[in-house]
């Protein structure tokens, strides 16, 4: 294990280094080293995951020490990896989707031979960073990885840097993330100040076991600061603005980083720090509130967007909001559950959208698609699976996780979270099927020039799609599996598989929170909640079905654009708000570019004219006074003599004064 665990992260790093140095010469063959390293990393990760989940580690976790990173007296940070069950869960998602995206990219990036090696190098670097993030055993290591994934995100969003929008989007992503990072960094500092250690386990132990008054920094503040970091990375309101723009990056990047892995880091972080949050209930309410607000905000925007990837991006935001809502109400298992399932089906959807875009020659506007179901069937079917999964129709993955979130929220007393969540669920189903409808159903609106060339993607792309479709179908069932043959037929002696795995992680947090996850009662409240969930999902789907056409097997219908227009005309404000993303970008533009720019320009003016002006002014005054004094030197002897005489008189006077003392 001492070698295997570092290798999980180390292999992609090695792949990055090698590809970055010699990749340029490999040209089209540049993919094989990165893919190989990630595949190996995946294999090793599976071994480690298996060991971890089968209780192979004494005490539930295994730590690998590498070296003393920062030995600054009392401030001591080790470079070390730790694997426990939570890490294991994340490892599954990260390595699996990572591998599939790598494979997919072999095909997807084929038309960009110049950037081929660069793309894979970046991807590898990202894999390393992300794995470092989940494996790191100290806050600071996590923070390093936190920044590194941000860097990779920056590099990959701006991959096509000649496009100005891409360059701008990448910068925006990094900077908005930095806002959250500042909070996170301050949180880390606060943790160290309070506890004197940055080891995650130790510091949490100290923070949550002693009297709260003893700390210089209140624990609620710490929780909020850590959450600030999570908000940035997981794009929660108001730091959500970067994620939609991040779609400027190549689609595999969107799938891997901006759907399945990196954006989940915030969720992971909060879950990791669960005892801290458990000690600060107010902070948890904030988390829940921001989460569910983001969920509905993003869902509302997703309903009107026309760019296929942006719809998915807002959907991601919305789903991440769900996860935070779950974290906030204390349904931590549900959050991680949703994280995992969402990773797969959203990854699938993104990769599918990539396939679509590929098919229609880099067109992302859904208004220029339609009727593609026949032409790209693999893509169509896999994306349909993803859409159903995200909408929450049993027995697909999304149903289980989403329902668990909503159910727990209701049962833990956060009825408002549940209520909003239900609305979001309707909207989710609606916009997903709007997407499917606009893209695949109805008449083709594809550009006439492109129309004949529309084609299915190569195997190397479709196989990963199918490989992702499988977990989208069954992962929920597996992870929620309550026991040998369906929890002795829903007698449910033990919680779901995932819940069992994660039990030790939450143990301490639950103790602090003073409650346990409620008993599952399929024929009680739970049954009702499940039915509600299914109903709203179906409702949303049906609505979209009505408006955007039907074309599943025997079911056929026509899109009804007129009705769509009429509907949107009924709620003009909401429609425009949604279309303009509630004007957040405009607000930011005003705040940071217009006003911020003015402030900066003023500051510079201040620097040049006032600060430096004073400096130069002193110089000028000195010289000018020199010039003034030089006037005394008239060139006339008598003037000089008079000066001397007056000087003599003054001196005589002053001596008389001195003498008179």
């Amino acid at each position: 294990m001492d070698t295997l665990i570092p290798l999980i992260a180390g292999l992609p790093l090695a792949g990055f280094v090698v590809t970055a140095t010699i990749g340029r010469r490999l040209g089209r063959r540049a993919w094989w080293i990165p893919v190989l390293t990630v595949a190996l990393s995946w294999a090793i990760a599976m071994v480690v995951v298996a060991t971890a989940l089968t209780g192979g580690f004494a005490g539930g976790s295994y730590t690998v020490h590498l070296w003393d990173w920062i030995p600054a007296g009392g401030f001591h940070v080790e470079a070390a990896f730790v694997v426990d069950n939570l890490t294991a869960g994340l490892l599954i998602v990260v390595t699996t989707i990572g591998l599939l995206v790598h494979v997919y990219s072999i095909g997807y990036m084929a038309h960009d031979p110049a950037g081929y090696w660069r793309f894979f190098a970046y991807l590898n670097l990202f894999m390393f960073s992300m794995l470092l993030l989940v494996l790191g055993d100290s806050w600071l290591t996590v923070f390093v990885a936190w920044e590194l994934v941000g860097l990779c995100s920056y590099l990959l969003i701006g991959f096509w840097f000649r496009k100005n929008t891409a360059a701008l989007a990448s910068k925006k992503a990094f900077l908005v993330n930095r806002v959250g990072d500042v909070g996170f960094a301050l949180g880390i500092m606060a943790i160290w100040v309070n506890t004197g250690t940055l080891n995650i386990q130790e510091s949490i132990h100290v923070l949550t076991s002693e009297t709260l008054e003893a700390f210089p920094i209140p624990i609620g503040i710490i929780a909020l600061l850590v959450f600030a970091g999570a908000m940035g990375k997981s794009a929660q309101f108001p730091l959500h603005v970067w994620l939609p723009d991040a779609m400027e990056g190549p689609t595999p990047v969107s799938a891997l980083i901006h759907a399945a892995t990196m954006v989940n880091a915030g969720v992971y972080l909060v879950a990791r720090a669960n005892p801290i949050f458990a000690s600060a209930p107010e902070a948890m309410v904030v988390v829940a509130g921001i989460g569910i607000f983001t969920a509905i905000l993003a869902a509302s925007i997703a309903m009107t967007q026309t760019d296929i990837k942006r719809v998915l991006a807002y959907s991601t935001l919305s789903q991440l909001g769900y996860m935070f809502a779950a974290l906030g109400v204390g349904a931590w298992t549900a959050a991680i559950f949703h994280l995992m399932t969402h990773g797969f089906f959203k990854g699938l959807l993104f990769l599918g959208s990539g396939s679509v875009i590929h098919a229609v020659h880099e067109e992302q506007d859904m208004r220029k698609m339609g009727g593609l179901a026949k032409k790209i069937p693999h893509t169509y079917w896999t994306m349909l699976i993803g859409a159903v999964a995200i909408s929450g129709i049993p027995p697909l993955a999304g149903f289980f996780s989403k329902d668990e979130i909503l159910g727990e929220a209701y049962k833990l007393g956060f009825a408002w979270v549940w209520a909003i969540g239900v609305v979001v669920a309707i909207m989710t189903a609606f916009y997903m099927f709007r997407l499917i409808g606009l893209t695949f159903w109805g008449e083709s609106r594809v550009d006439k020039a492109v129309e004949p060339k529309v084609h299915e993607s190569p195997r190397v792309m479709t196989i990963p799609l199918w490989l992702l479709a499988i977990p989208s179908l069954v992962l929920g069932l597996i992870l929620a599996w309550p026991g040998p043959p369906l929890g002795p037929l829903l007698g449910l002696e033990r919680p779901g598989l995932l819940a069992g795995w994660l039990e030790p992680i939450w143990e301490h947090g639950f103790e602090l929170l003073g409650h346990h996850e409620a008993e599952f009662a399929i024929f009680g409240i739970d049954g009702v909640l499940i039915l509600v969930s299914i109903a709203v999902a179906a409702g949303g789907m049906l609505a979209a079905w009505r408006l955007f056409g039907v074309e599943i097997g025997p079911l056929r219908g026509r899109p009804a654009p007129a009705q769509v227009r009429a509907l949107s005309a009924r709620v003009p404000f909401l429609y425009r708000a949604s279309l303009n993303k509630w004007w957040f970008d405009d607000l930011n533009h005003l705040l940071f570019i217009v006003i911020g720019g003015r402030v900066a320009a003023f500051t510079w003016w201040f620097d040049a004219k006032v600060v430096d002006g004073i400096v130069n002014g002193i110089g000028a005054v000195t010289r000018r006074s020199g010039g003034g004094l030089a006037r005394v030197q008239t060139g006339h002897v008598q003037n000089y003599a008079l000066g001397i005489a007056v000087g003599l008189l003054v001196m005589a006077g002053s001596y008389l004064v001195i003498a008179g003392r």
Partner: protein, 197 residues
């Protein structure tokens, strides 16, 4: 006609000089010395004023000689006849003559300049008056530890002093004069042209 004017001027001058003497002697009840002193002092000051105020520089030079002469007289009154003699020899015999020569050499044909004084004559006068007042006040307010009777300086002790205690300055003064002469000659002589070398 002209002669009369000169005579008149001489009379006025004589009156100016003798009036204080008479005043001192007759009204102030002073001694002859006092009267002499007053006369000479007046003569000296008046001629000194003439030196600094008269338009024609040659007359200034002549007034200076008068002033020096009056001063020599005062030295005699003060009991330093040797100094008085030296005054006559050095100042009148040497310096004044030098100055008069220099005046001749430097008078441009255009005659005396239209302006005698600088534009700053008024501040100069004020400064001079303040200076005089300061000196006068300072001097009178000071206890010099002076003897009530003046001491006559005899030539012999003076000579002894000069060649004993003050022999070094005496010698050095000669060096000084030598230096002045050598340098003065060099500066004042006409350009000899570029020297061959």
């Amino acid at each position: 006609m002209r002669a009369w004017i000169y005579l008149l001027a001489a009379a006025i001058a004589g009156a100016i000089v003798t009036t204080p003497a008479l005043l001192v002697y007759v009204l102030g009840g002073g001694t002859v010395d006092d009267a002499l002193f007053a006369a000479l002092a007046t003569l000296m000051l008046v001629s000194a004023l003439a030196v600094v105020t008269m338009r024609d520089i040659i007359r200034c030079g002549l007034a200076m000689i008068v002033s020096f002469l009056a001063l020599a007289g005062i030295y005699v009154v003060a009991g330093a006849p040797l100094v008085a003699a030296a005054q006559v020899i050095v100042y009148i015999g040497a310096i004044s003559v030098l100055i008069l020569f220099a005046i001749m050499l430097t008078q441009s044909k255009a005659g005396p300049a239209s302006l005698v004084f600088q534009t700053q004559a008024a501040p100069a006068a004020i400064a001079a008056i303040v200076l005089a007042v300061l000196i006068g006040v300072g001097v009178s307010a000071t206890d010099w530890g002076a003897a009530s009777e003046r001491i006559r300086t005899l030539t012999e002790p003076l000579a002894r002093l000069l060649f004993d205690e003050y022999v070094l300055p005496f010698e050095v003064v000669s060096v000084l004069l030598l230096a002045a002469v050598i340098g003065g000659v060099f500066i004042a002589k006409r350009e000899t042209g570029t020297e061959p070398d």
